[in-house]
C-alpha cells in the first residue's frame, strides 16, 4: 500500500475526496481515480497538450485557463476548480465549441481534441471574437496529427459566431473530363 493522503478536488463543479500519494498527477487522478477519461495522455511530460484541462482558483468566476494536468500534482490542484471536457456540456447539450468541432470535421481520431476544445473554450471565454492569428496562438500548445489544424480553426470560428456553420467551404469538386491531352498510353484496355 502506498502512503496516501486525503485530498479534495473540485472538478466540473463537483467536490471529490480521494486518497492519493503525493506523486499522483492530476491527470492520473482524473483518469484513474475519478473515471474522467476524457483528458488524455499523449506524452505525459507537457509536450503535446492532450491532457489540457481548465483551471481557476476556487471561487473565481469563469472556467479558467488552460493548463497541463500531466505535470500538475493532484495535491496542488486542491485550491483550483477544474473543468474537464466532461464538464463542458450542459443541460442544453454540447457546448458550442464541442458542437462546432463535431459538425465541422475537426474531429478525426479525436484523441487530441478534448485538450484542443478546452484550449479553444478558454480562448473564447477570454476573447469572444478572436482573429485567426489569435486562434493559432491559443492552440499552439496542442499538437494534432490528423487534421493539419485547418478544420479546427474553422470550428473555433463557427463556435465564436464568426462564421456560419452552413458557410462551409464549397466542394470545389470538379469532374475530370476524359482527357483530351495527347496521351500516349503504354497499352490501352477497355474500361
Amino acid at each position: 500500500m502506498r502512503l496516501s493522503a486525503l485530498i479534495r478536488l473540485n472538478v466540473n463543479g463537483e467536490d471529490h475526496a480521494l486518497a492519493v500519494p503525493a506523486q499522483r498527477t492530476l491527470l492520473e487522478a482524473l483518469r484513474y481515480e475519478l473515471g474522467l477519461i476524457g483528458s488524455k495522455q499523449g506524452c505525459d511530460k507537457g509536450d503535446c497538450g492532450a491532457c489540457t484541462v481548465l483551471a481557476r482558483p476556487r471561487g473565481a468566476a469563469g472556467r479558467g485557463e488552460a493548463i497541463l494536468s500531466c505535470i500538475t500534482l493532484a495535491h496542488d490542484a486542491q485550491e483550483l476548480a477544474i473543468t474537464t471536457i466532461e464538464g463542458l456540456a450542459g443541460p442544453q447539450g454540447l457546448d458550442p465549441v464541442q458542437r462546432a468541432f463535431a459538425d465541422c470535421g475537426a474531429l478525426q481520431c479525436g484523441f487530441c481534441q478534448p485538450g484542443m476544445m478546452l484550449s479553444a473554450r478558454a480562448l473564447l471565454d477570454q476573447n469572444p471574437k478572436p482573429t485567426l492569428p489569435q486562434i493559432k496562438e491559443a492552440l499552439s500548445g496542442n499538437l494534432c496529427r490528423c487534421t493539419g489544424y485547418t478544420k479546427i480553426y474553422e470550428a473555433v470560428q463557427v463556435a465564436a459566431g464568426l462564421r456560419s456553420p452552413a458557410q462551409r467551404a464549397p466542394v470545389r469538386s470538379e469532374r475530370a473530363e476524359a482527357s483530351d491531352s495527347v496521351a500516349q498510353p503504354v497499352k490501352e484496355f477497355a474500361p
Partner: protein, 327 residues
C-alpha cells in the same frame, strides 16, 4: 505513463517556512510551476524525494510593483510568465521582457511557469533530458551519475545549456535578484547569479530561494529587443536567444548591453563593448555587435541543432535584433 517515485512534498505557507524546509531536507528541490521539475522527475534526473512546493507563497511572491524612491520595477518570483507577458506595466516599461515571456514554451506552460522558475531553469542537454533507461544505454554523464561529457570529449566541466528566455533580457537590462536563506536575504546583480557549471548553474545555495527580481528604473528608457531562435514557433526551448539594450542620445549610443544564451551553462554578456559608446546607432554598428558576438560565442552539441549553423546565424540575429531595438 512515466511514473514518479514516492515523493514527500512539503507545502510551506511563507518564505520563511520554505527556506526552513529546504534547510531541513538537504537535497530537496523547489516546485514552483512544475513545468520543468515534474518532467525532469519523470525522467529520473533527480535523486531527491523531497520537494518544497511554493504554491502557498503566491500571496507573498506574486506581484509587479514599483519600489519606493528610485522607481525600480520589482517582480515577484511567483509571477507566471504569462501574466508578465500580458502585464500592461511590463509591456510598457520592459517590452523585451514581455516579448521574451510570451515566447516561452507554449500557452499552457506559460500559465503554469513562474519567473523564478524560469530564472532558475535547470540547464539542458540532449544527453541528459531523457529517461533513465536512455541515459543508462548511452552511458551516464557529468551532470548525473557519470564521469564523462558527451558534448566535449574529455571535458571535466558540464556544459549543459542555459535554456531560459528571461535571463538574457534581464541581464541586458542590468537586473538584480533578491534571495532569502536561513542566513538572511541578499541582493546580487543577475550577472553574478549564473556560473559556468551545467550541473548547477546558479550561485543559489541548496537552502536559498529566489524571491524577487529588481529591474532598474532606467531600463524603461532603454531601447530593447529580444530574439529567440527555435525550430518551431511554439513549445521549443531556444536554439539560441539574445537580448540587446541600448541607451541612445538621439542617434548616438551612450551604452549597449548584449546577452546571448543557449550556448553553455552560463548566459553570456558580450564583453568589451565600451569602445562602441559614442558610435552612431546604425547598420554598421549593428554589424559590429554581431561580429563580436560571433567571436565570443561558441554553440555546442548540447542542443540538437547544428552548432556551426547556429554560430553562423548569431551575427545575423544580433544585427537584426539591434536594428529592431533602434527602431
Amino acid at each position: 505513463m512515466m511514473t514518479l517515485p514516492d515523493l514527500n512534498v512539503l507545502r510551506p505557507a511563507s518564505v520563511a517556512e520554505a527556506v526552513e524546509a529546504l534547510r531541513a531536507h538537504p537535497g530537496a528541490r523547489v516546485l514552483a510551476g512544475g513545468t520543468d521539475i515534474v518532467p525532469n522527475l519523470k525522467y529520473g534526473m533527480y535523486d531527491t524525494q523531497h520537494l518544497v512546493a511554493l504554491r502557498g507563497l503566491s500571496g507573498e511572491l506574486r506581484f509587479v510593483r514599483e519600489s519606493a524612491g528610485p522607481g525600480d520595477l520589482l517582480l515577484g518570483a511567483m509571477c507566471t510568465v504569462d501574466e508578465l507577458a500580458r502585464s500592461e506595466v511590463v509591456k510598457a516599461r520592459l517590452p523585451a521582457l514581455a516579448d521574451a515571456c510570451g515566447q516561452i514554451a507554449g500557452p499552457q506552460l506559460r500559465r503554469m511557469g513562474t519567473l523564478g522558475g524560469n530564472l532558475c531553469l535547470d540547464t539542458r542537454c540532449v544527453y541528459i533530458n531523457q529517461t533513465h533507461f536512455w541515459r543508462n544505454a548511452l552511458g551516464y554523464c557529468l551532470k548525473k551519475d557519470g564521469t564523462v561529457c558527451h558534448v566535449v570529449a574529455g571535458g571535466k566541466r558540464c556544459v549543459a545549456a542555459a535554456s531560459n528566455d528571461t535571463a538574457p533580457v534581464l541581464l541586458a537590462l542590468g537586473a538584480s535578484v533578491k534571495t532569502v536563506s536561513p542566513r538572511g536575504s541578499r541582493e546580487l546583480p543577475l550577472r553574478e547569479f549564473y556560473v559556468s557549471d551545467g550541473v548547477h548553474n546558479t550561485v543559489l545555495a541548496p537552502d536559498e530561494l529566489l524571491t524577487e527580481v529588481r529591474v532598474p528604473a532606467a531600463a524603461a528608457s532603454r531601447r530593447q529587443a529580444f530574439a529567440k531562435l527555435r525550430t518551431r514557433a511554439a513549445i521549443d526551448f531556444p536554439a539560441l536567444n539574445l537580448a540587446v539594450a541600448l541607451d541612445l542620445d538621439g542617434k548616438v549610443v551612450r551604452s549597449v548591453s548584449l546577452a546571448v544564451s543557449a550556448l553553455a551553462a552560463r548566459p553570456a554578456l558580450i564583453k568589451g563593448l565600451e569602445d562602441l559608446h559614442g558610435r552612431t546607432a546604425d547598420a554598421l554598428f549593428a554589424n559590429e555587435l554581431g561580429r563580436r558576438a560571433h567571436k565570443q560565442c561558441k554553440p555546442l552539441t548540447n542542443i540538437g541543432i547544428d552548432p556551426e549553423w547556429r554560430r553562423e546565424l548569431l551575427p545575423v540575429l544580433v544585427r537584426r535584433t539591434v536594428l529592431r531595438a533602434i527602431g
